[in-house]
Symmetry: C2
């Protein structure tokens, strides 16, 4: 038997870490705060990347690649950007090692100090806008719709695999436009792209909204976000899209000649999602038996386990089913390892979250049937060998839909309203989840609530219902409820 | 008209840089030695990546991701590795910036010094083998066949876009095996994968060979290489595959229990190609009018230019051809920009290396034909509108083959034999290219020849003909000719 994992009830944090490690998604590394993304985890990330990349290209974007390093002085150019950012980061100060004169391996060569320190990019607005200055001269050069897949580094003190690591992988889109309206529309469009991807592929329902001024990206005029709810009642900010106004254009002096031959500053957006989505995927669906992967992102859709072990008749049925599945583009593995017992294999594939398990037993075969077990509900059905592939195809659709519906139901059950601060605290304490509450619109109140409860305003939902009310903390008037939660 | 570029005759180096910049492949950045890969260049790199990745997966490899940073002490663990490597590299010494107390932007926070410096990976053998130690316990865990797509940094003093940059993109395969034979076979297999990709997709003929001990990767027992010949008679090392013996396994103590329950050290390989291939692609095919991209890697296969400008009949013919091309999976753009004259467009697409240009003229259309111009030879043919798509499909095959054949012919014409040192120097001086010559097998002679002529031994070709002879420099006996050239 595969070793069990800690239950969510016992310790949600341990449960999460054990799934990440035991399902083979990622591992800690020798470098503080940096993880190793293991092949099985990386295969899921590759599927995410492929889908997102396709959607970016369908919406007119192209990929490019900008330098890993940012000259230190660039970070000072956009005042708000540096204020809210870029303090905890990896700083390159030297460019050479040398043999230790005392014979102990290598040491930094003190003569190879850089004139200006380089920062390992925590995000690329500055280096990219410094480049756009050379690329943009006229309205004919716009819009400029560029995306980059890259690694970035933020020196986080407390790290958790996928959710918060010193180095992580992401994509960052950086676009330039002639008008404010076009830039805002772009930022909103990319939020929609993220939301559709999250819901259709990750089966992770999200709420689209706008961040408060306090929670905005440093240097943005508006930050849009998709917020998902994890099974421990905490929210996960899963993707953001920023309308940057003309802030970076002004900081880096990026102007264009408009159709009337007049110079104007360019309007900008940036938007990104990261390997953090892997954390969201895990925490949205998985259970105490291990990982659950929605079929659309599964590296392996189905696995065939011979019971009790391979043999001529079982092999024949397996081959038949595999051929039929391959024709449908469904990936399948036939586990012929005779050294492991079926029960051990069941637990292993459950841990790894393979959506469908096909058990082929000798006795069942005499009746011409095999057993299909779905990972999400554990339900089992017997189907004729010839009908197995079609049944699995349908099952994968059902699993994808069921996972989404289950997550929606969880969120519905964990979304509350609070009209006073005591109720607010009580819900947070006992049930968690999203809380809709009135807020007076000030940064002070927002900070005070966070200080008292650890809950933050996740977003002001788009198309939010307008409703008069009183701030739960100060009692001051409010025109709409905002969405609070404790968050990762 | 697009501005012309410097001819190869006038300055090969300027010609190269101008193609890179004016065709929109890459740009210098604000960071010393780092380039920006522009969308058009990145689209070609993506096509290379997709093909290589497919071949890696077909040969059983999976992708993963390891940290960007390597603890300094790791680099001291494999003695030869650190000796031949890792001196010129980016060193991270601090993890925080702070506001300058004097108000001048940001400065490095002196209190945030790392206990141990981190090196931005110049290659990942050390961090990966330190991880493999935890992943490999038994022969059942082997072979471990992992590839990583990543950015790496080597602090080169003299940089040239794509060919030698401080940061570059690459893939690095790192495999672990139970036996020496299996590891050697893996290293050879990946060399074949590289060679096939280079010849079939890049249309760049390569010679497969083994490096001399002096030119081996630091830490390898054998380095295999593919060597291509550029149009200036210089060789380009285009990909390498290393048999690492048990060196890294011993340095990082990676052992496995074999089938007899005895502990053994693991056998290793590593192999990589990088954005340097872009440089090889450019220099193998392009001409004084600009870039030439082999159809299999072209981001855009064909472009339609209306002559003199769009109009109802021309639009109709263009739509017809575009629909037919799309059905064949051939990418095409209809350039309807009325502000640019056809001649300007011709020069632009020539510069960008689009394989086929389709000119649709009013008068030609009256005869029911359009003009196809191929980028490689400049030849033009008239074909009926209805036959255009099929003709283009065939043309793309012809261009791909022609580019390869042309490059093979160039290499044949620039591969010489030299039996004495004067002839050797004369050929190098006057004609360049590969020179087959006898060498006494010593590092001293190899270094001396390099010192005197700048030529290096590119490789000892695989399946090299055995032939008795005398070293061109020392006259000492030799059993085979090796391949010399000046190189990038």
């Amino acid at each position: 038997m595969a070793k069990g994992i800690t239950s969510r009830e016992t310790s949600y944090a341990d449960w999460y870490n054990e799934i990440v490690k035991k399902a083979g998604l990622a591992d800690h590394s020798a470098v503080r705060g940096c993880m190793v993304i293991k092949p099985y985890g990386f295969a899921i990330w590759e599927k995410m990347q492929a889908q997102l990349d396709k959607r970016f290209k369908e919406t007119g974007h192209v990929n490019a690649y900008f330098p890993l390093f940012i000259p230190k002085s660039f970070l000072s150019k956009e005042a708000e950007h540096v204020e809210g950012f870029a303090k905890e980061c990896a700083v390159v100060t030297h460019h050479r090692l040398m043999n230790d004169p005392n014979g102990n391996g290598v040491v930094v060569d003190p003569t190879a100090k850089l004139e200006e320190e380089l920062i390992v990019r925590p995000t690329s607005e500055t280096i990219i806008w410094n480049t756009y200055k050379d690329w943009i001269k006229s309205y004919r050069d716009l819009p400029l719709l560029i995306n980059q897949w890259a690694n970035v580094v933020r020196w986080e003190m407390r790290t958790r695999m996928f959710l918060r690591t010193a180095e992580f992988l992401w994509q960052e889109g950086h676009t330039a436009h002639t008008t404010k309206g076009e830039a805002v529309a772009e930022a909103r469009q990319m939020l929609d792209v993220y939301a559709e991807f999250a819901e259709e592929y990750m089966a992770m329902p999200v709420i689209k909204g706008r961040k408060t001024a306090n929670e905005r990206f440093a240097g943005a005029e508006d930050t849009y976000t998709i917020e998902a709810l994890m099974q421990d009642g905490k929210a996960l900010q899963s993707g953001t899209s920023h309308f940057l106004g003309q802030n970076f254009a002004k900081a880096f002096d990026v102007k264009f000649l408009n159709q009337n031959q007049k110079e104007e500053y360019v309007w900008a957006t940036s938007w990104g999602v990261s390997t953090r989505l892997m954390g969201g995927l895990i925490m949205t669906h998985s259970d105490d038996n291990g990982l659950i992967v929605p079929p659309k992102l599964a590296a392996l859709h189905a696995v065939i386990v011979p019971i009790p072990k391979p043999g001529a008749e079982i092999d024949e049925a397996a081959m038949k089913i595999m051929a039929a599945l391959k024709e449908k583009g469904i990936s399948v593995k036939y586990d012929t390892d005779a050294k492991k017992r079926p029960g051990f294999k069941f637990a292993e594939y459950e841990l790894q979250g393979v959506p469908v398990r096909i058990g082929i037993g000798k006795r069942d075969l005499e009746k011409g049937v095999v057993e299909l077990a779905r990972r999400d509900t554990g339900e089992k059905v017997q189907v004729p060998v010839d009908a197995a592939a079609s049944a699995i195809e349908q099952l994968l659709v059902d699993i994808q839909n069921n996972l989404f519906q289950k997550a929606v139901d969880y969120r519905t059950a964990h979304t509350s309203s609070a009209d006073d601060f005591d109720t607010f605290k009580e819900i947070l304490e006992e049930k968690g989840g999203f809380i809709k509450a009135h807020w007076d619109g000030t940064v002070e109140t927002e900070k005070k609530i966070k200080e008292l409860t650890k809950a933050t305003i996740r977003c002001i939902p788009l198309d939010n219902e307008q409703e008069e009310g009183k701030c739960i903390l100060t009692g001051k008037p409010s025109k709409e409820r905002v969405l609070f939660a404790k968050a990762y």
